[in-house]
Amino acid sequence: MPNPYQSESHDSPENLSSEPNQDKRPSTLSLMKTSEDWWAIWCAGFLLMVCFVAVWWTASGRPGGETETAITSPLKPYLGKPAVWSESPLEAFYQPARVLEEEESASEVSPEPNSTEGSAPVESDAAEPELIPAKTPFIGVIGAFVLLGGLFTVAMKLRGENASGFLKAFPVLFLLGVLSYVLAGQSVIKSYNLEYALWALLVGLIVSNVFSVPDWLRPVVQTEFFIKTGLVLLGAEVLLSRLLALGIPGIGVAWVVTPIVLVSTYVFGQRVLKLPSRSLNMVISADMSVCGVSAAIATAAACKAKKEELSLAIGLSLSFTVVMMVLLPMVITILGLPTAVGGAWLGGTIDATGAVAVAGATLGKEALEVAATVKMIQNVLIGVTAFCVAVYWTSVVEAGKGKQSVGLGEVWYRFPKFVLGFVAASLVFSFLHGVLADGDVMVEAMYKGSTKTLRGWLFCLAFVSIGLDTRFRELLPYFRGGKPMLLYVCGQSLNLLLTFLMAYLMFGVLFPSGATP
């Protein structure tokens, strides 16, 4: 069985970086025309520009008397993903018009999912039944297929890659992505935080390990290109104004504890556990301390981790998330903690954003608001984390490997350029969100109606690609010795302790009132 740790991850041709390692290096201008890092920025920049202009065009054409909330992206009907379904997978693509059931209209918020209050119908004055129009998600799925297939084929052509091969294979990859979304969209699956990333990875793994991957599919397996483009799109959702959403208590829980846990876990992994792969250590530390899958994706790309390392980190995170989502609210209830303290503890410790919301809602509305807002601040910290990790990696880790001083030029050459696009997207859309008239509504309409969906598709295609490119036997050695799991457990234990102390100090002692955002 091969040892996955035998070589440093950044030497591998199969890591999340594709920059050449040659004595005679191409110029930055040349790389801008060919490298996937730069093309991730160009593609995402093009998508962001089109999507924002579409919303801006719509907003500028509104009658003056309309309220802010009237803005919807005109692209929304044409960009979508399979819908959540319960009875038949066909509901993921088409749902006929129907009359709203009485029990569905009972939308009073209940503190517990099995509470009798929640299931009791609410008295309504409206005697006439409400009609829900037909939903046609298949149109959005086709739109996303055409847009992404077309854009990436053109990009492959301009990069001098195998564009025709990409175009031929793209429908198959996209269909596997559709299958992943349909599997993840079943209402029972969805309600237990089993994200599409997991199913996309499994679908790819099953195809490659049970059936093998044909050669003609190879040109479309562009894991890094999809991930980096999706991350630049994600940058537009990282709005800096959200960092102060909870004021000083939020800063304490999210800004102070998160970096301490991240750095402590990484140092523990290097010095105590002596994890042979620094990049695996970093990805696990980040996904555990920041916010799960999205942080793992961003950090893995920033530190050029292997695809197997990203898969392992995400598997660990999702497994522990499901357990913590159920157990932590019980512990909070048993301890009798104030709901705001409990919410902050949940938001700072459970990895996945959706799981934080489920656990918070179990404790009530205030806990949900605090938990979701703490997690939102951590989400926004992804940008800072990815940037710092990229700088650390290029200037310290990779420089240390060569045992020689590294100049700024070398650091610039090694720096993963897509991170610049990610940060730039965050800064530009934070600026537009805060400064432009109706900017907040337009930016939100943009990501709700288009870029969020495209980002989801790109991550989904990336995870299918990772699965297609991975053999089970390549994953197994990573579990040897149980060090990754030990790292996660130790780091999460520290996270639980520090976040509890900070949450209690901030939301229980210093700011017991006004903790709710």
Binding site: A197, I206, A357, A361
Partner: protein
């Protein structure tokens, strides 16, 4: 990265097995669970609280984005 093309006939059994498992789980088991009152209550509760349990980022959470 090594890609190989093997005989599709060899894998027909595996494909059928997988198809049967997927159809049984996603076509029969999960839909029947969805019809149970416990799951329906849970889904209504999640909707009412604006919670998407599979949210990857805060922008995926309806409770943080009011007009979703």
């Amino acid at each position: 990265m090594k890609f190989t093309m093997k005989s599709p006939v060899k894998y027909t059994g595996r494909l059928l097995t997988l198809a049967v498992v997927v159809v049984l789980v996603w076509g029969v088991l999960l839909p029947s669970l969805s019809r149970s009152e416990t799951i329906r209550n849970r889904n209504r509760w999640l909707d009412a609280n604006g919670v998407d349990p599979a949210a990857m980022f805060y922008t995926d959470l309806p409770c943080l984005t009011a007009d979703d």
